[in-house]
Subunit: 212 residues, 4 copies
């Protein structure tokens, strides 16, 4: 009897419990960063005990990764879709930036988890985050690369990587600023970035110079 009552309250199916845990953990991580969140706290919010967290996710890093991956999948999917729908490489780049800010606007927490700066270096988390950043970076690189005449592409590889990184960094910084201030509509921030960067990107028309 007593058991039944308790069961009603606590015995959710495993999948549901994991889902709920992910949600709470995500919120916490987004708000305060990886290091500042304690397993105890997550457990407390979910209403379970710490060992359950370990049963489900193995350790803190993997729990974070689980949170982060949901966000990362969503972002990459969003951006990839946006890019895929564009007709020219330049349009793809614009679409990608716009999609990123739209994503940021629609799910601040997801972005925060994906771009947490306080992740411990050299751990499993950092590795997986790097993976995802690499994927996004690749999307940017490809779009830039596609704007180059085919035969100059191999030579430009390094520059394009550098440029992609810079553009990604600009996006990230602008996003962080936006999260802090919200002094602009998210889409206006996107347009501002596009407008600033686009003229200088490797030639959109033939006659323009290659990336130096």
């Amino acid at each position: 009897m007593d058991v039944a009552i308790v069961a009603q309250r606590t015995r959710l199916p495993r999948a549901d419990r994991m889902e709920q845990t992910l949600t709470e953990a995500h919120a916490l991580f987004a708000e305060r960063g990886y290091a500042a969140v304690k397993m105890e706290e997550i457990a407390g919010r979910v209403g379970v005990t710490k060992p359950l967290l370990y049963t489900y996710f193995g350790n803190k890093e993997r729990l974070y990764i689980a949170c982060m991956e949901r966000a990362a999948e969503a972002l990459t999917a969003t951006v990839a879709t946006a890019i895929a729908g564009a007709e020219t490489p330049a349009a793809a780049l614009r679409a990608g930036v716009r999609a990123s800010f739209a994503f940021l606007d629609s799910d601040r927490a997801a972005w925060a988890v994906l771009f947490d700066e306080t992740l411990p270096r050299g751990g499993e988390v950092a590795e997986r985050v790097a993976d995802y950043r690499g994927r996004i970076l690749a999307l940017i690189s490809d779009s830039i690369m596609a704007q180059l005449p085919e035969r100059s592409r191999p030579a430009a590889r390094v520059e394009v990587e550098a440029l992609s990184t810079a553009l990604f960094g600009a996006t990230e910084a602008l996003a962080r600023w936006w999260l802090r201030t919200e002094a602009l509509a998210a889409e206006d921030a996107a347009e501002l970035l596009i407008a600033t960067v686009e003229p200088g990107l490797p030639n959109r028309s033939k006659e323009e110079r290659p990336p130096r």
Copy 2:
């Protein structure tokens, strides 16, 4: 001889010991980030015990700040000088970016300490770092602002702030990439960034346009 070496390592004048400590601590912090460095380890490298570190620097945060400020002063001075020597706002911006990368090239560790991402949020360190970033950001903002016709400046304030942040972020990300790969000469990285960003910055009037 042995005595001489030992003598070198012990009973240094306070200033020298602090200097030495700063050097070792700086290297460690740059390599592994704030949180991953233990006071004990710093002491060990310097060849003293922890209490001495505390006597000289008070606590870990202030030791980090001391390291960081040396780097920050150096960077801001470098950038400010470069900017001051420029003849037009646009040239100032270019000079600033070039100076940044030159600084990065000449002292990788200094940059790393200044742009450590793993700093604990909300502490004294984070605050001080934010101060310095703010100063650098202001230098960028001013240079961008100065390229605008005077009467449009007030309206553009927010955009300029956003743009400066983005540019700063791009620089930072590119710098980090460069530190990791060194796939380019530092100055080429700088030029790449300049070339990409400059055309898209707020329009200037013809006569302000630099010769190059």
Copy 3:
């Protein structure tokens, strides 16, 4: 058998473990005073590790407070009960003193924790101890005050406070002496104090004078 013993020592229910901890901590604190007792030592006696102490009590001060409060509640309850049962104010005072010494006699350690002189000034502990002393002092004050004719009470407030403090101090010192020497039966110590102090307390009217 061995198993049984081990079982006794490990994995106790929280309440039991707290109880046990309180007991051991109390004994240690009583014996050596707050500062001289290390958390590690308490943990060792209980047969657990330090973190458990922190899980249960938060910090050293709160652990001490928990010990002290048990003693304080017991003492104040004992004294208050004794006083409440008395028929005249003078009898109340006598009953209070007697109850105090009876308490002291029955639980030396409790008294020691409550009247530890080595508590660090200005901490949470000192504050809480002061609270309890204040309560006991109030009991004394009330008893003395009640022996005064009603209309002279307001004017006597300060004197009564002073007198209560002195009486409390005398009790404390006598108790400490008794703990050290046990040269007298505790109840005789009480009677001695009563006999000495009572004649000099503010004059009562004849009819209030107790039979004895």
Copy 4:
């Protein structure tokens, strides 16, 4: 030359330096208690370095003892003189209490050092303080004892010791209260104590009963 200047500032004769150190240390100890005062701080106030403190006094305990002894000598001398001048034992007791409060009134700090409650148990300091308290206690005991008929003295020894302790405790507590509140003139506090305690002390006139 340089040496001469420094010498002017710092090279006081040893005796003067010790005197000055005692003064400053005393003030600090009186204000915050033994444990809360750091050697560094004392050195700082005196304007010398810590090793000098150690050269002069050996260690913290002995420095405290030096401070305390000055106070203790002064108090015992004051009280002893007062008692010696009295004509009857009862008068001696009154004179002693009055002298104590006069002393307290004239040198709060001296009293505080002598009656510091935060002294570490079992150390050299505690021992020496106990010595002095013992001496004062003896003065009280003697005065009480002298009021007894000669032949009942041996039997009363323990009671007299207890009574003296209690009276001493009352004085101490009242003194502490007075230091905190100063709600009364010091001499009024003394009179209050005398008035309260005297009637109950062992018979002043022959026909009164012995100490129980």
